[in-house]
Symmetry: C2
Subunit: 215 residues, 2 copies
């Protein structure tokens, strides 16, 4: 039922995790089948957009019946690559790093903090929030031997660029960048920026200009 994935639009891909979350809710409730209407409602999109999004990846439903929840969830997981638990490297065991290490919902999304890296000698060697802490010099070894593809960058702004370059050299595939620093890395490394300040500015505009139009 999987298509050869004829280059789906970027917004479509960004909605897949939202569908996934909705499907998990339905599964928890014991629903075996759902409709595009119901699922779209849960995900906060229109039914036709949901159907079109899914159609980029294959045919998952049966006319008149809807979608089998379990199967569709498996399919979405397979598309996203979250069908197995993936190891993540935490770079920077500060406040934010610890918060993420303790962030339970990550596990439900298919990710596990496999190890952490920090410059502080007080942290290296210890297990903090359930995660063992290594010195930065171990980065490459951890990535290679652990087969780690993803990193969370939660170091102070001043250390961001160096840490990112170290990760890139180690062969990391993707970085979730929580620092307010624009990283300049080879295109082979996927970088996703998560800047709380930028997000707040975005809603600040919506509030001041729009006078309260929702997204």
């Amino acid at each position: 039922m999987r298509k050869a994935c004829e280059n789906p639009p970027k917004p479509t891909v960004e909605r897949l995790p939202i569908y996934r979350r909705a499907l998990e809710i339905l599964l928890d409730e014991g629903c075996e089948y759902t409709s595009s209407c119901e699922l779209a409602e849960l995900a906060g999109v229109t039914a036709s957009r949901l159907r079109k999004d899914l159609s980029f990846f294959g045919r998952f439903g049966t006319a008149g019946m809807g979608y089998p929840v379990r199967e569709l969830l498996d399919a979405v997981n397979s598309i996203l690559g979250t069908d197995r638990l993936r190891d993540v490297l935490l770079v920077g065991m500060g406040n934010l790093g610890r918060a993420i290490a303790n962030h339970a919902p990550l596990r439900k999304c298919g990710f596990r903090i496999a190890a952490a890296v920090d410059v502080s000698p007080a942290k290296v060697g210890r297990v903090i929030c359930g995660v063992r802490c290594y010195p930065p010099s171990e980065t490459a070894r951890l990535v290679r031997e652990g087969g780690i593809e993803f990193a969370l960058l939660t170091v102070p702004p001043g250390a961001a660029r160096e840490a990112a370059e170290r990760l890139a050299e180690a062969g990391i595939k993707a970085i979730l960048n929580f620092t307010p620093v624009h990283l300049r890395l080879p295109r082979s490394v996927v970088v996703e920026e998560v800047d709380f300040g930028i997000l707040l500015q975005k809603v600040a505009f919506a509030v001041t200009q729009g006078g309260g139009e929702n997204a």
Copy 2:
């Protein structure tokens, strides 16, 4: 120099904070003037897109010269509503809440954690990470008396919906939702979702499918 803001595209608005960040870097470096090429390079967009984005809000540059950094930054701040320090309410003083309370860069973006709310009696009344902690019952008073418009929702998933509704009733204007729960609130409240799991899934797709195309 400000236009009447003829409904700028949403993507344009989302890029403004990025331009803002680039402008601050230039200002720190002591640059008085910059060009659309230089600024676009720093922001990671094309020069024509930058110029078009700015054109939605007015005319800020002079042909042959470029843009005056200080003035353009002031203008962007004015557009975004970050020209003055804005108070933010932190809801949920857990690991993530504390991390954000300590997150220095927020201040540079024009935001200040004015107060926190938490259910735990052990936290209420204390000052944690420089922020005074109040019980949830005080939410409405804090929002009203402090003139607070923005809230950061960092409570456990199970408490998210109730806390969000309390905020909406208190008259909050916007919520940055760090919980993996889809909030259903009146359209008058701007909600921005920040779900680490969803972000990881997004890059997971990019890595597995794209084989490494950057965003």
